[in-house]
Symmetry: C2
Subunit: 227 residues, 2 copies
């Protein structure tokens, strides 16, 4: 399933409870374009004996699901991790590029041969990432472009960086922005700067009524597009 | 459980079959000091409905177990991933430092408060890692030393780099070396260059008789220490 522009919202399902994550996926499906699942939520689901959260979220929501694994290993292991993402039913996968082209290549190769999107992390959204990731932004964007990554991940609270990355990767490559809400970005700001999707976690999943929170953010993203 | 010097061998349990990994752990326990488990083996175990491979390997072998997750996310998520490693029963965890000090800190903090070892990946063993990881070796070693990491991960086929890293991190910090056997390093070479442990995967787990392969490598490592 491809990632398409509708609400422009991606919800990060980061709760420890499998059932709560699935319920949020079901309740919020109409207000987002994808759900993102990182390692803890996935593994907690297994430890609870509940099975594969990726499949369950897809079943409950009918949506695109990204496994946000930030793959950063050697080529042989990256290939196996990407194959595992495919086997688990993921529509997309995040990975790092600083391990070198030979380590990133199997992620691109396995992903593209199974229509699983691959998203290269250009820079993380924590302040400390400035030190060693920031100097490589141009090179990471070149890697993403050269290998036809489906998208790149860029901090949402950095409009200047989003603009720069857009120039580097072109229009075809999606820009996904985490760091919105609890991490400091104001919903809509990344879209206004040229991003394709904003990723929101805590502001939705820890809200008293998550569908309302998701709806409100989706409306902000609509406004940010000028509707 | 701390990682102690006996045979100096760490076996990477990378097979997809949960039962085969557990059997190798049981059969090879006496020839190694630790077992290393990466994401695919762990998740395949869950997908098979077999449960937590970390606990099962510990139970079968009585040995130290490292989850080789190469954590590389933002601070909040890294904290949750490290807590999960603790909860799963891991004695050690690998992580990257290039995401910055603020992202690495929760790994150190959670690890040290639960006596779970943390191992910082100074450089991966694939050739492509030379490009962007190699220039940061000194800074990664400084981070490991400053935050009292239990160890660092350095390519085993690079004796020059092992020597340099030893000078930078001092004697108290363990040097763990992957890339032995199938990836090109000759067993014993990393120990001779000053490493504490050599990590071997395919040469043992894909051998016709894994305990024999593990025994043979352990003997090489003994020789490398001058016995």
């Amino acid at each position: 399933m491809p990632l398409v522009h509708q609400t422009r919202l991606i919800i990060a399902l980061d709760l420890e409870s499998f059932d709560k994550n699935v319920k949020i996926a079901k309740d919020c499906a109409q207000y987002c374009d994808s759900f993102k699942i990182s390692w803890p939520a996935l593994v907690y689901g297994f430890l609870e004996g509940k099975g594969n959260l990726v499949r369950e979220v897809k079943k409950a929501s009918g949506k695109h699901v990204i496994v946000d694994w930030k793959v950063a290993d050697v080529p042989h292991t990256n290939e196996k991790i990407t194959e595992m993402a495919v086997r688990m039913g993921a529509d997309g996968l995040t990975f790092h590029g600083f391990m070198g082209q030979d380590a990133a290549q199997p992620v691109f190769d396995v992903g593209s041969s199974h229509q699983t999107d691959v998203y290269l992390v250009v820079q993380l959204s924590n302040p400390g990432a400035e030190k060693w990731m920031s100097p490589l932004v141009t090179q990471m964007c070149e890697m993403a472009k050269k290998t036809a990554a489906n998208g790149v991940v860029v901090p949402g609270a950095r409009p200047d960086l989003i603009k720069k990355v857009r120039e580097l990767v072109g229009k075809e490559c999606h820009i996904l922005c985490p760091g919105m809400g609890a991490q400091g970005g104001k919903p809509g700001d990344a879209i206004r700067a040229g991003a394709d999707f904003e990723i929101v976690g805590r502001s939705v999943i820890e809200a008293e009524y998550p569908p309302k929170a998701a709806y409100d953010i989706a409306m902000e993203l609509r406004k940010a597009q000028g509707y």
